[in-house]
């Protein structure tokens, strides 16, 4: 369980803020994020979960549960198709935890881990949509039109937000 720190309130607030920003940024800057045929999907909520793995240190946040909750909301509110992100987000968190245990995390290795996370999320959500016939795009189209721009966008947000969020977690832990 969470020890009584400010993180107890700070973590869920940050999670939901980033969850909403994913949709709102898409609606506010559609020309930049969704210029045909490319589409950048914003996964700020995953960024928050990944940062929590990196920065929480000794305080145990039940991250897998929170990831499933965020994924469930993502499914119901944004896509309207149950059962994709509710499993994909916990998988990404588990992957990040495994990497965190395997080697020391700093700014650059964290960037690499986040790169892998986004690739896994994009691919799994593509296959999910493919099997239920919500998309007919080919794998090559998916790589060029969706995965590449999404990676570029999300890695940029990682670079911009890494140090501010690290500072925020240091503040919240004490």
């Amino acid at each position: 369980m969470l020890r009584v720190t400010k993180l107890r309130y700070g973590f869920p607030i940050g999670l939901f803020l980033f969850f909403y920003l994913d949709g709102i940024l898409g609606a506010t800057f559609p020309q930049q994020l969704f210029s045909v045929p490319y589409s950048m999907s914003s996964y700020l909520v995953v960024l928050w979960l990944v940062f929590t793995v990196f920065f929480e240190e000794q305080i145990q946040v039940p991250l897998t549960v929170w990831a499933a909750v965020a994924g469930g909301l993502f499914d119901v509110y944004y896509t309207g198709i149950w059962g994709i992100f509710v499993f994909v987000f916990p998988i990404a968190v588990a992957l990040t935890k495994a990497c965190y245990k395997a080697f020391p995390i700093n700014f650059l290795s964290g960037l690499l881990v986040y790169f892998i996370d986004i690739t896994v999320i994009c691919s799994l959500s593509y296959f999910g949509n493919l099997v239920v016939h919500m998309t007919t795009a080919s794998f090559a189209d998916m790589m060029v039109d969706s995965l590449a721009p999404t990676l570029a966008y999300n890695l940029a947000t990682y670079v911009i937000l890494y140090f501010p969020v690290q500072w925020l977690f240091n503040r919240l832990r004490n």
Binding site: I24, A27, Y78, G80
Partner: protein
Amino acid sequence: MNKFFSNRRLVIVIVCLIVSFGLMSVSVAIRNKRSTPPMIQQFGNDVVGIVNRVVAWPVNGLKGSVSGFSDLMNTYQENQRLKSQVQELAQTKVHDQAISQENKNLKKELKLAHSLTDYAPVNATVIARTPSAWQNQVIIDKGSAAGIKKNMPVLSGSGIVGRISEVNRTNSKVELLSNSSESANRFAVTITNKNGQNVHGIISGYDRDKNLIEMGNVTAKTKIEKGDKVSTSGLGGVMPAGLYVGTVATTGTDNYGLAAKISIKPATNLSELSVVTVAVRQAQTTN
């Protein structure tokens, strides 16, 4: 690898996979068949939607001030261009008024309450966009409380941009024309050529690379040219007639050389949406 796939883990992974596929197929089936999502989903969406509006407010304020500045820079050029159009528009408007008055009188004479072209507009604001490449969807801030039903057409600017795919009490999802799913954009449309002849058909897909709507399986021999206007025909479902879809960009034959395949340039920029209008058809619907 052996250690990873120990019995317990393997069972958990398989159960998760089965549940995932089960949930996906059930939700797609519900989405295709029922007019509203299950009660719990609706309630959840409504709660999430209310908070969304609160969070969106400062972001939209920021965007508003930035775009306000860039609009100011464009004002002079735009003003010049618009002045020339206004004169023409005033004349068209007066003419339209006279025609719609005449139309109303004639309908009264025929004891016709509502015909296919009548619709009541419901204005809504876009509050979020699905952050996914596979669902080109936006979420708007009006739902069944404002009279919105599934499959109603959604307009923005001068033309149609998509249709309602899910209705909650206070918000709903709009599937855009650019959606790549197989059942997303099947509108009944009609093309009117320069001689006033009509060709009916159904939109059959969307070309992502060229940003064009495709209309296939057209067997009529009527001559269609580039620039001919395309509008909804109002046949079938809840769609009113006469909503502007776009103009014909290219014509050709399909892969088998039998039927004509027509590409349509959408009337509105499908990615730039902030305020949309839902057209609620007033004539009796078939479903």
